[in-house]
């Protein structure tokens, strides 16, 4: 009886650790129909924890008339709601590709932390995970 209970406890703990250990990630770049490089896997929560980012508007910013509106956040919207893949006249001139690279790589270079080389984010096996 004791052994059975022990096995059950171990099995439960094992299962729980697998479930809890699995971190949700985002696939960035789904808007691009046939991207040149593999789409990017982004561990949102893990990133913010590591980067000590608590203010959503650091990335989910709001611009009005070309000026940053401080403390206002657009966290309920994806980047592509403002940054189009192919901006036309009247759209935000910063394309989605430019916005992603500016936001991610620009910050990593500034902070001297995080991936900055193409292949560090655009990994070949990302495409399998994104399907």
């Amino acid at each position: 009886m004791k052994i059975k209970t022990l096995i059950l406890i171990i099995a439960f703990l094992g299962l729980a650790s697998i479930c809890l250990g699995q971190e949700d990630y985002l696939i960035l770049g789904k808007e691009f129909k046939s991207p040149e490089r593999p789409r990017v896997i982004f561990h949102h929560d893990l990133h913010n924890e590591k980067a000590h980012i608590e203010n959503c508007s650091v990335c989910h910013h709001v611009y009005k008339n070309g000026k940053l509106v401080p403390d206002e956040s657009s966290e309920d919207q994806p980047c592509s709601s403002c940054h189009k893949v192919h901006p036309v006249k009247g759209d935000n001139p910063i394309s989605l590709r430019e916005a992603y690279h500016k936001r991610c790589m620009g910050c990593h270079l500034k902070e001297k932390r995080g991936p900055v080389m193409c292949g560090e984010c655009h990994k070949a096996n990302n495409e399998k995970k994104s399907k």
């Binding site: 040149e36 910063i94 990593h108 001297k112 995080g114 900055v116 080389m117 193409c118």
Partner: protein
């Protein structure tokens, strides 16, 4: 490695492009200004007809007798020069870097095509290396500077090719790719690489000098 890369694509790129652009302008300017002093005859008897006719012929594959006499070299040379310009100017990775820092972007070639064109560049370079090493009349006029020039051009394409495929050590290969490319840019004004710009001037000069003379031994 990320910090070295950060330096190379930031201050490193500024240094490399500054030396490349300013150095090339100074070099071209110096050559143009020196011409009236060094060779007064060429300007006095300059023939635009023969000069520009020669330039046009030399820009067209198999457009000259010399090229027709050396078909393999002509083919390799044109393939090389076409690819060596197209790949760095229109590969997506480069355009994305400029776009990220400068908000300027332009047309790009698909990565798979870039991969093939890079392979063509490397094969052509192997041909040039082989020519310098084993073809008797070429070996005779070859010095260590020729191998240095070939190394300068080979390195960025080779490291770029390896890095793109993720072979060996991706980060190290990419750093070596950018570093060797910046050394290549810095070397431009001080080496025969300047022929990229000056070659056009010398071709018009030679064309004007030779006029209608044909069948000149031109290696």
């Amino acid at each position: 490695m990320d910090k070295i890369y950060g330096f190379l694509i930031g201050p490193g790129a500024w240094i490399a492009f500054s030396v490349f652009i300013l150095g090339c302008i100074c070099k071209i300017g110096a050559i143009i200004l020196a011409t009236p002093k060094k060779d007064r005859v060429v300007l006095a008897y300059f023939s635009p007809k023969y000069g520009f006719r020669s330039l046009i012929h030399w820009l067209i594959p198999f457009g000259t007798i010399s090229m027709q006499e050396n078909p393999l070299f002509t083919l390799v040379s044109f393939a090389f020069h076409f690819c060596v310009l197209i790949v760095p100017l229109f590969i997506t990775g480069h355009v994305v870097l400029v776009e990220t820092f400068w908000s300027v972007s332009w047309w790009t070639i698909p990565d798979k095509l870039g991969d093939i064109l890079t392979l063509i560049v490397l094969l052509c370079l192997a041909f040039f290396w082989g020519r310098r090493l084993w073809v008797k009349e070429v070996k005779f006029v070859t010095s260590w500077t020729d191998f240095l020039l070939l190394s300068l051009v080979t390195a960025p394409f080779l490291f770029g090719f390896i890095a793109y495929h993720g072979w060996i050590d991706y980060k190290l290969m990419l750093v070596l790719h950018v570093l060797s490319a910046e050394i290549l840019l810095i070397a431009f004004p001080f080496t025969r690489l300047i022929h990229m710009f000056v070659g056009l001037l010398t071709r018009v000069y030679i064309g004007s000098e030779f006029g209608g003379v044909r069948h000149v031994k031109d290696w």
